[in-house]
Point group: C2
Chain length 205, copies 2
Amino acid sequence: MTIAVGAKPSFKEQMLQAREEAIVQTVNRLLAEKGFDAMTVDEVAASVGIAKASLYKHFPSKEDLAAAAMVRVMRSAREFLDTIAPALAPVDKLKAVVRWTLQVQLAGQMPSLPSQNSSLRAALTSSKEYVDQLLEISDTLGGWIEAAQAGGALNAKLPPIAVLYTLYARACDPVLEFLRGGGQHSDEEIVELVLSTCFDGLNAR
Amino acid sequence: MTIAVGAKPSFKEQMLQAREEAIVQTVNRLLAEKGFDAMTVDEVAASVGIAKASLYKHFPSKEDLAAAAMVRVMRSAREFLDTIAPALAPVDKLKAVVRWTLQVQLAGQMPSLPSQNSSLRAALTSSKEYVDQLLEISDTLGGWIEAAQAGGALNAKLPPIAVLYTLYARACDPVLEFLRGGGQHSDEEIVELVLSTCFDGLNAR
DNA sequence: GTCTATAAATAGATAGAC
DNA sequence: GTCTATCTATTTATAGAC
């Protein structure tokens, strides 16, 4: 039995992971399209092209499916943070992150979960990788927020945690959907509009 | 048969309306607590204290229940608009509306509906009173927005419709729930924080 | 109109053969 | 692991007596 860390995965293991990646990708799309409640496991299985029973061999519950999708998104976000130029001003780093978030949402890749569902919360918080990624992201953003406040770029009167929550909330901002439905603006314009209202506010300057 | 407009309702009619008001009030609370998908009709009936079949005599479907709750909220919002002092600056009128919205949400009185559900959308758009109230509210807010932009209070570069959507989005802002969960701020502080980030933005001024 | 009882449909999850 | 077929529970909605 091979337990070496980073050992070359066998062909079988590669196939398994590829299939699971396909599953999670499908779940991610469906969660973005319809949300957790409206997404059915039958639908996931049909969309992936396997039997529902097979799906349950990979993921023990619907909640675990959603958690896997969230882990995927968090990892993706975490990786994006690493691509941000360190020389950038903290506030510009934050803007870059929010812009990335908005683009993911417009691309139909941002899973939407009900924040009240307790079994779902349990699945999320019991996922070590999810919690780890979330903590790491929050730490990084928190550092940028405090730096931006110290540097006079961000309003220093706002509690950093409130700023962080406000940025996180952009990931599920319904304004994007509203504006797109209006059909008057391109995706790029929508992103910049929301970015502007988020950082500059509605008031004139 | 009495069809006179504004005719004095009979005792029976008053009882009927009182019961329906009790139903809608319960639905409103449950929609605020758990959202449309998680709310069950059984639950509504049990909470009101009547049989489910009786409930269906009043409202033909779950969607109609939710629509009735939304009509109630919209009427309430519409009535609030009338209480705003006409002498107030347009931007302050807008702030008053958003503040009211945030307070309703914190009071657990703001129903939350999935924006993607099509049967629900159909029930809403087929309700004349809902559509009428929404249009009237949007007209009023739209007028204030344009006046505030013309007066130099609101950023005139933002499309009025984007401003309107941004204000509407505060009615379901998850930041309220996040901040309350943190336990570090009172409800009043939370309201003012969100108001501040909405109108003044995150950036320093 | 209110009730009890039940229909009808759906969804999450499993059994068991291969 | 994948499949077909099924279970179990829940949910929306109704039938029918009173």
